[in-house]
Subunit: 239 residues, 2 copies
């Protein structure tokens, strides 16, 4: 027979899976809004972010309640502390989706991006959205193999992030300064969004394998990318 406490832990885990689903849906919609200059979809993402924030609060409250009432130790304590970190990652991922939606709304009725940047951003959006959805499955199944997959997908994101800079820096590209600023920030938002999926998956690995020191900085890869954006370093094949 399962204890009340383990039912609580399962409920918390279910909440995390739902949070990742909402964050994934938010980016999917924000990306469609971005690429189609769809104002009402952008507005929906912006207002729906409150649902993500509310669910995050609820999970955090349940987690802290479990810490206070159940006085857990060992694995259970680790799971609860890790939960607080994962809710933070997923809520932040939702914020980044909202940023994409807000930029879409700001530039409406114009498209934020010119057609030549659409394929790269469309692919980045699709991969990033899938990554956060996958992070939810990894939480549900404690699938440590899945974390390795997510890191591989993050390499794809890094390549696409570089490709955005490559397009902007190409001499054949003639966008104005506002567009360069917008594309730079957008690309950074997608890249950070994907980082949060990797963080969640890495925390699951630490949870399962028993380590504590999950001071993850997937963002550091973004610098390797950025280092690679000096014009002479961008492979022609990526332009």
């Amino acid at each position: 027979m399962r204890s009340v406490f383990h039912d609580q832990l399962e409920q918390i885990s279910d909440g995390l899976v739902e949070l990742s689903r909402l964050a994934s849906e938010a980016l999917g919609r924000a990306s469609t809004a971005l690429l189609e200059a769809d104002l009402s979809l952008a507005e929906q993402v912006i207002s729906d972010d409150e649902k993500i924030d509310a669910l995050r609060r609820q999970i955090d409250n349940d987690t802290i309640d479990a810490l206070a009432r159940q006085q857990p130790v060992a694995t259970d304590l680790r799971q609860l502390v890790t939960t607080l970190r994962m809710t933070s990652d997923l809520e932040r991922a939702g914020d980044l989706a909202r940023h994409v939606a807000k930029l879409t709304r700001m530039r409406y009725p114009d498209h934020v991006l010119p057609a030549e940047l659409h394929p790269t951003f469309a692919e980045m959006a699709q991969v990033a959205e899938q990554m956060v959805l996958r992070s939810g499955e990894i939480i549900a199944t404690l699938d440590t193999q899945g974390a390795a997959e997510l890191k591989a997908q993050d390499d794809t994101i890094d390549r696409l992030h570089r490709a955005v800079f490559g397009i902007l820096l190409d001499e054949r590209f003639h966008g104005n300064t506002q567009l360069v600023i917008d594309a730079t920030l957008l690309s950074r938002y997608f890249e950070r969004y994907a980082d949060h999926a990797v963080s969640v998956a890495t925390r699951v690995v630490y949870l399962v394998t028993g380590g504590w020191n999950d001071d993850i900085d997937p963002d550091d890869r973004s610098w390797r990318e950025h280092e690679a954006v000096a014009p002479h370093e961008v492979p022609r094949s990526e332009l």
Copy 2:
């Protein structure tokens, strides 16, 4: 007579103050390196980031140890959970300082920024560095008034962030695309760094006043700024 547990809590609080000092020092040095194209200082910031990460791990381990051994409730539990969030903020602030240093190193021996952007970035760096240092004082003294000061300083950061975009978008500005990308990312790093100081201070307020729901998103202000960067909206006085 104080309990062992309260000595532990005090030691954890001291650790947080030191962590904020290190993160503040990192940004100060990174900014000097940026503005003076000082390679060895940039290298120092990059290598010293390990000290920040190590201290963060130590505080997190001590905090989790206290959760496991002392089974705290009420205020003590809140302090420990809040600590885990603050270490995350301060470590991330340190990462952003390292990003500034890495960009400095990448462009060396060139300066990353042209002279006309130096005053704005110098002011942004000084205010942001002070904010994280102040967040440490706020932790040490549980000074809820200090949080309000930090929010006011963050408005200054937002104004300077807007000013950077204003300069980039001004027709008199003739930087190349790489410079626009670099300046956009740098400005975003400083702005996010300052956000983490506000997060820390806001968490102290929640800790003192008893709330749990510190789902802080100071970053959202960055969007109001960004919304204001459309050329026609940037006040001439900020150019």
